[in-house]
């Protein structure tokens, strides 16, 4: 019996033949970093949760619901939308891992909710997330870019902005609570999410750069203009979202600095230069310390900064550099 000739031969993925070493490197990193919310003892935060005011509780639930929406989009639309554009079969496999971890992230917020909140509070927050114009606007801006038929590299730009920028108006709050010794187990869970999103933004940004470098100057300029244009649009929405959420607690300006800092990092993931100057991107040190506990900033040159390290003499065998 004769089949109609298929245009593409289905191929089994061979991880022993790599077109791009970065695929295996990132696959290994993501799989080693795999986690589930059950491993974090969230219930230890119940006494701490009780010390928050009603407004602080509502703010926290809303922020987490906003983050859930972004993770849901990445899980069901964002990462799958990147798969048809994958250059290598290994890239597709990495994207399936990314898609699944986004589902884990989205699921984690519900674990936090069920540990700390009442059903009424949870339902109210999900209703809020569907009605909040700023949250819906950022979701729409990203989803429009992900739509079928769109430019594969523009999709990657949107994906990196979601992973490396849009989450941070939300991530700020658990880092803030953590810096005040509140909800510290919840912060541990959020740090696991932040770690994953950093790999996702890095990897998709890396794939963007591989595509970008193949293009002629005019197309490169078009994409760069698109990226900065989209960043401006998203930044405008994020400002309003931030004001609405954080004005009452008095943290808006601090959050905005954190937005600038993360916008610059998102652009760097794409290989572009920073947009916001250093003077508006110096994040509150307490937030930086909450982000990367036990890792201090080193500035031996100026003698300032928190500390520097001179290695203690380590006896080293030349054939025994077991880093």
């Amino acid at each position: 019996m004769k089949d109609t000739a298929p245009t593409v031969i289905p191929r089994a993925i061979n991880w022993n033949r790599l077109d791009d070493e970065k695929d295996l490197e990132v696959w290994n990193r993501l799989t080693v970093n795999f986690w589930l919310p059950e491993k974090v003892p969230l219930s230890n935060d119940i006494p701490s949760w009780a010390t928050l005011t009603d407004h602080e509780k509502q703010l926290t639930i809303r922020v987490f619901t906003g983050l859930t929406l972004l993770d849901t989009i990445q899980n069901t639309v964002g990462a799958p939308a990147l798969m048809p554009d994958a250059i290598t079969p290994h890239e597709e496999a990495v994207l399936t891992n990314i898609a699944f971890m986004e589902a884990v992230h989205a699921r984690s917020y519900s674990s936090i909710f069920s540990t700390l909140c009442s059903t009424k509070e949870i339902d109210e927050a999900f209703r809020w997330s569907e009605e909040n114009p700023h949250l819906q606007a950022k979701a729409k801006a990203i989803l429009d870019t992900y739509a079928p038929g769109n430019d594969p590299l523009k999709r990657k730009i949107a994906s990196v902005f979601l992973e490396s920028f849009l989450f941070y108006s939300g991530f700020y709050l658990p880092m803030y609570w953590s810096s005040r010794a509140k909800l510290t187990n919840t912060a541990d869970l959020i740090r696991l999410i932040i770690r994953d999103e950093a790999v996702h933004g890095y990897y998709v940004g890396y794939k963007f750069q591989r595509g970008y470098e193949q293009l002629d100057e005019a197309r490169q300029q078009e994409l760069k203009d698109y990226a900065f244009g989209l960043m401006f649009e998203l930044y405008g929405i994020e400002n309003q979202y931030t004001e609405e959420l954080y004005d009452e607690i008095g943290l808006t300006e601090d959050v905005k600095v954190f937005l600038h800092y993360n916008a610059n990092k998102a652009l760097q993931n794409l290989g572009f230069e920073a947009l916001f100057p250093p003077e508006v991107s110096e994040v509150n040190p307490a937030i930086l310390a909450a982000l990367s506990p036990d890792s201090e900033n080193h500035d031996f040159f100026s003698g300032s900064g928190s500390s520097y390290v001179i290695g203690k003499a380590v006896a080293t065998e030349d054939d025994d550099w077991d880093f």
Binding site: E21, K22, E25, N28, R29, V32, N33, W35, R191, L192, I194, R195, E197, A198, Y202, G205, Y206, Q209, R210, N264, K265, Q268, N269, G271, A274, P277, P278, S281, L288, L291, S292, P293, D294, S295, N297, H298, D299, F300, F301, S302, Y308, V309, I310, G311, K312, A313, V314, T316, D318, D319, W321, F323
Partner: protein, 142 residues
């Protein structure tokens, strides 16, 4: 005492963050190649090493294999004067971990750490710092 002339040695993976930092820094710099089959740069002068971090959640694999290979040679290792580490704070406690490991292993100071491709502030601090240390940058940096 006159400052010793220093070379800048760096590693940058295909994502190119450290490469972009070094380009913006200006001055002469030698790259440790990504491919293990390419020759390592020849070192005749004291140098500062700029190294990214690729740790997993437990801190394993922080120092890139090619940097380990580079430092495994005792002659090359003898000339390292300090390390500058890069990373991403989003990786929490393992941020810029490669610098702490290399500083420890080679008994040299961890001079500075910065994120991704660095900010303007990072560029000016590292530039000034290297010049103070006696870097090669003074002839080319403006």
């Amino acid at each position: 005492m006159a400052a010793q002339p220093l070379t800048l040695i760096y590693y940058s993976s295909a994502s190119g963050n450290t490469q972009r930092f070094v380009e913006r820094l200006g001055g002469e710099a030698l790259r440790i190649p990504i491919s293990p089959s390419d020759p390592l740069p020849e070192i005749i002068r004291p140098y500062v090493l700029i190294c990214p971090t690729y740790a997993d959640g437990e801190g394993r694999g922080a120092v890139p294999k090619q940097v380990i290979r580079f430092l495994n040679d005792p002659d090359r290792r003898a000339l390292i004067k300090g390390v500058i580490a890069t990373g991403n704070r989003n990786f929490g406690a393992t941020y810029a971990l490669s610098g702490r490991i290399i500083a420890d292993k080679c008994n040299v100071p961890l001079l500075y750490s910065f994120e991704l491709a660095g900010t303007e502030t990072d560029i000016s601090r590292v530039r000034a710092g290297l010049i103070t240390l006696g870097g090669t940058l003074c002839s080319t940096a403006t």
